[in-house]
């Protein structure tokens, strides 16, 4: 009797599990057909599938879709696809006219730009006018808006931007005016050779004044409260969720180029989950972090992209106002030369990164004759164990110490921790008398410690904001926001200043000045110790074509993407 009850229960469990398995069975056939279809189709590109749907993943949610407030990669990537500015990076990553009709008229002194706007509409059908740009830029520079990129991008280039950001002038005094509905005039403080690429940056996109004012506080709080003028529109985003869609925007001026109908995006923070979703056929592309890059090294669908982002050690010479061992240039040089970068990128990172002996990345900035800035300036500070050991010994002698203990402040991601562990071991082995302590903290905490200059060595990275070496070169001028490490060299400052000022109209001399500045920064002063230039690996289904990766602004353009061979 007792037995029978238990067997009854057991069989209930069995029936239940069978039922669940059966349910799953249905799913099974569904997805597997999808996957086989995907791998079979390897027809030549150009044949479009009838269903133009792209399934993507992001690693973080959207913090805000307000163009003036955004500062993160996810939002910038969406802006690049649902909005558009005067210029847009094309398939070759060159800024080409978008909302601007042709190249602008530039005054002889290089200080006044006059853009003609093409006829284009917002997603609600109203035209995009020059005033939308004026409004947007003024909104971003207004200190009351608290835009992180507004002053950052405009100050020092656009007339009065610096004063407005400081609260000394009204936003309406910004050097941008709508001559008429289709003509925009921009006044610059100094010639900006890279102004066109700047115009492709989301901060310089237009915003629809009527719409923003009407929505008030609700503006940009979800996809209902947004308006678009790019290739796609954002839909199904509730403001805090982990999912959204991009739908083809019929009002877009170049809508006929756009092939994709829908892009489904889901936020997946766990790298392992992302890879599993890709393998199940649910997603068309998955970025590969650290360990996964290694595992899929031989996968035929692997795409490797070199990013113009450089990682380096910031060597803080004054921690909390007190000078430390890093004040000594020999110690700094020893550290910069004291670790094997090749092994790091080959084994630890293994994601297509390059060892960096420079600050300005390779394949990023080109001069008039199309020569890479890197070819001009070469390798500046390389790994050399013996030299490093000598320099370190000299440094310690000069300081009169027997041993040095330094802390490396790093990120708390798996990759960052691994890398820091490797670097610690390298430095301690190569530099006798050095002890490294590692400290991994969340990004927000690191920012604060950086702000307070409460660290010895910090692993930091920098990606460009526009296509010019200057976006890297001027990072460490005396007193700059990135230079929270008490580095100061008048010679370097002067070179940066001249490249920004009097040399702005002389490209060759300007290039030379920037090259010189980089030399001083790395070779002479070892103010920072470059580590690597980041590579990115992703798995991408072969039927996905035409996703363009950009070096700055939004990471990707889907405008030219299409699905071919999935069916």
């Amino acid at each position: 009797m007792r037995n029978s009850k238990i067997f009854w229960l057991l069989s209930l469990v069995l029936v239940l599990s069978a039922f669940l398995a059966a349910c799953g069975g249905g799913d099974d056939t569904d997805t597997s057909t999808e996957t086989t279809d995907g791998t079979e189709g390897t027809e030549p590109a150009g044949d479009l599938d009838s269903e133009q749907v792209l399934n993507l993943m992001e690693s973080a949610e959207i913090p805000t879709m307000d163009i003036s407030l955004a500062e993160d990669a996810v939002a910038f990537n969406i802006f690049n696809n649902v909005n558009e500015g005067l210029f847009r990076l094309n398939q070759e990553n060159i800024a080409e006219p978008a909302l601007a009709e042709g190249e602008p008229e530039v005054s002889e002194d290089g200080l006044t730009y006059t853009f003609k706007l093409r006829d284009s509409n917002w997603s609600d059908g109203t035209p995009v006018t020059a005033n939308d740009f004026v409004y947007s830029w003024q909104r971003s520079i207004d200190p009351a808006t608290g835009s992180p990129y507004g002053a950052y991008m405009m100050a020092g280039s656009i007339v009065n931007a610096t004063e407005i950001a400081a609260g000394d002038m009204e936003p309406t005094e910004l050097g941008v005016t709508a001559v008429d509905d289709n003509t925009l005039e921009v006044q610059l403080e100094r010639p900006v050779p890279y102004f066109m690429s700047l115009m492709s940056f989301p901060t310089f996109y237009p915003q629809n004044e009527a719409f923003v004012t009407e929505k008030g506080d609700a503006y940009a709080s979800n996809s209902e409260n947004l308006i678009f003028n790019g290739p796609f529109t954002l839909t199904d985003w509730d403001g805090t969720g982990l999912t959204w869609k991009m739908q083809k925007n019929p009002e877009y001026w170049d809508a006929e180029t756009v092939q994709l109908e829908t892009i489904n995006v889901d936020v997946v923070k766990e790298p392992a989950t992302a890879v599993n979703l890709y393998n199940s056929g649910e997603k068309d592309r998955a970025g590969l972090s650290g360990e996964f890059a290694m595992q899929y090294a031989n996968d035929e669908n692997l795409v490797t992209e070199l990013e113009p982002t450089v990682f380096y050690f910031k060597l803080n010479q004054e921690r909390n106002g007190e000078e430390n061992a890093l004040k000594n240039v020999n110690i700094r040089q020893a550290i910069a030369k004291g670790f094997n970068k090749q092994d790091l990128v080959d084994v630890v990172l293994a994601n297509g990164s390059l060892p960096a002996n420079f600050l300005v990345p390779t394949e990023f900035a080109f001069d008039e004759s199309n020569a890479d800035f890197r070819e001009v300036n070469g390798d500046l500070i390389e790994f050399n164990a013996e030299e490093a050991a000598e320099l370190f010994a000299t440094g310690m002698e000069e300081l009169g110490v027997e041993e040095v203990t330094l802390e490396i402040l790093g990120g708390d991601t798996e990759t960052a921790k691994n890398m820091d562990a490797y670097l610690k071991e390298q430095l301690e082995t190569n530099l006798e008398g050095l002890t490294i302590n590692l400290k991994a903290v969340p990004f927000g905490v690191r920012l604060e410690l950086d702000e307070a200059q409460d660290y010895d060595i910090q692993t930091a990275g920098w990606g460009p904001d526009y296509q010019d070496p200057m976006t890297f070169i001027d990072l460490f001028v005396t007193g700059s926001a990135q230079n929270k490490m008490s580095y100061s060299n008048p010679e370097y400052d002067a070179l940066v200043e001249s490249a920004k000022g009097e040399l702005a109209t002389d490209p060759a001399a300007r290039w030379e000045a920037m090259a010189q500045a980089e030399k001083i920064l790395l070779e002479d002063d070892a103010a920072i110790a470059p580590i690597y230039q980041r590579g990115a690996m992703a798995l991408q289904q072969p039927y996905v074509n035409g996703i363009i990766k950009h070096p700055f602004g939004g990471d990707f353009s889907y405008k030219w993407a299409y699905i071919s061979g999935k069916e």
Partner: protein, 311 residues
């Protein structure tokens, strides 16, 4: 009873007020800047932003503003994670999925755990017993993130029985996360029920029931099971906590738009208002569970007098 519950509710409010105070001041000593992108804002801009969120007010003013808002159900505004969003809205929008997988996991775990424990007790010291003990111990021995990713890999990817991740296919999406969350309740319930059942089965009144000729199943279910169930209520609290903790991990692995996942993120980006709001939300949940357990305990077991307890 009503009087007891009323008293408990008052205590609850006081407790919550103290927790809110505690977290509020904790946030003030937490490292990290309350305003994101501090490195890009000029001091003037920063001052404007801080003024907007009332971060420049003297601490007592900030505190009273916060407490005043709290009374009205206003948990403040997110500054970093979702710029300008109401924390209350954020939590509400993320509550559904968490509640669903949490509830399913709890029910599934408890029911299976009870079954497992009962079978083990009735078949004490046989292979059935050993197997169920083994399952129970393994259940609490494997970290939830390992278990969850194994589930995802095998049941999601390899055997394709359930969605790998994401919150798109309704109930089917919730199965694997619920199972992952169920492991702790399952193991706890199984161990608990087994011990209690064995004790009850050896007690005098079972012997009496046997002597009176009650059948095996009657003894197992009518007498032993019911009495063994009572103490299980006491572990509901720890189980609820485990579900909370588990949700952080499980939601992240299965990419579920829940509170736990969002809480981890808010820590990473130092969004103090969300950290604080979520802490208070979790606390309310936990205190309610504790209250519920105490009330349930009194209802189920008449021997416990609620108002008493002290000698």
């Amino acid at each position: 009873m009503a009087k007891y519950i009323g008293k408990r509710l008052i205590y609850m409010v006081i407790t919550l007020a103290l927790i809110a105070t505690f977290t509020f001041f904790l946030m003030k000593v937490l490292p990290g800047s309350p305003v994101a992108s501090a490195d890009k804002l000029s001091p003037e801009q920063r001052a404007v932003v801080e003024a907007r969120y009332g971060l420049n007010d003297p601490l007592p003013v900030q505190y009273f503003n916060y407490m005043f808002g709290l009374v009205q159900g206003d948990l403040g505004i997110s500054i970093n994670q979702f710029k300008g969003a109401e924390v209350t809205d954020v939590i509400l929008s993320r509550m559904g999925p968490s509640a669903q997988i949490g509830f399913q996991g709890m029910v599934l775990g408890t029911v299976l755990g009870i079954l497992l424990g009962m079978i083990a007790a009735l078949r004490q010291n046989t292979w059935v017993d050993y197997t169920s003990t083994f399952v129970a111990i393994v259940g609490i021995s494997i970290p939830s993130f390992v278990f969850a990713s194994l589930l995802q890999y095998w049941f999601g990817l390899k055997w394709d029985l359930f969605p790998v991740a994401l919150w798109k296919d309704g109930f089917m999406s919730s199965v694997l996360p619920s199972v992952a969350l169920a492991m702790f309740p399952l193991a706890t319930a199984a161990r608990f029920i087994r011990t209690e059942m064995i004790e009850v089965l050896g007690s005098d009144y079972i012997t009496l029931a046997k002597a009176k000729g009650a059948s095996g199943s009657e003894i197992a279910f009518k007498h032993a099971f019911r009495n063994a169930l009572i103490p299980l209520v006491t572990v509901l609290g720890p189980m609820a906590v485990s579900i909370l903790t588990g949700s952080l991990v499980v939601e992240q692995i299965f990419a579920i738009p829940g509170i736990g996942e969002q809480f981890v993120k808010s820590i990473i980006v130092s969004d103090f208002s969300i950290i604080m709001g979520t802490t208070i939300f979790f606390s309310v949940f936990l205190i309610l569970i504790i209250l519920l357990v105490d009330i349930l305990y009194g209802v189920i077991d008449p021997r416990i007098r609620l108002s008493g307890g002290k000698s």
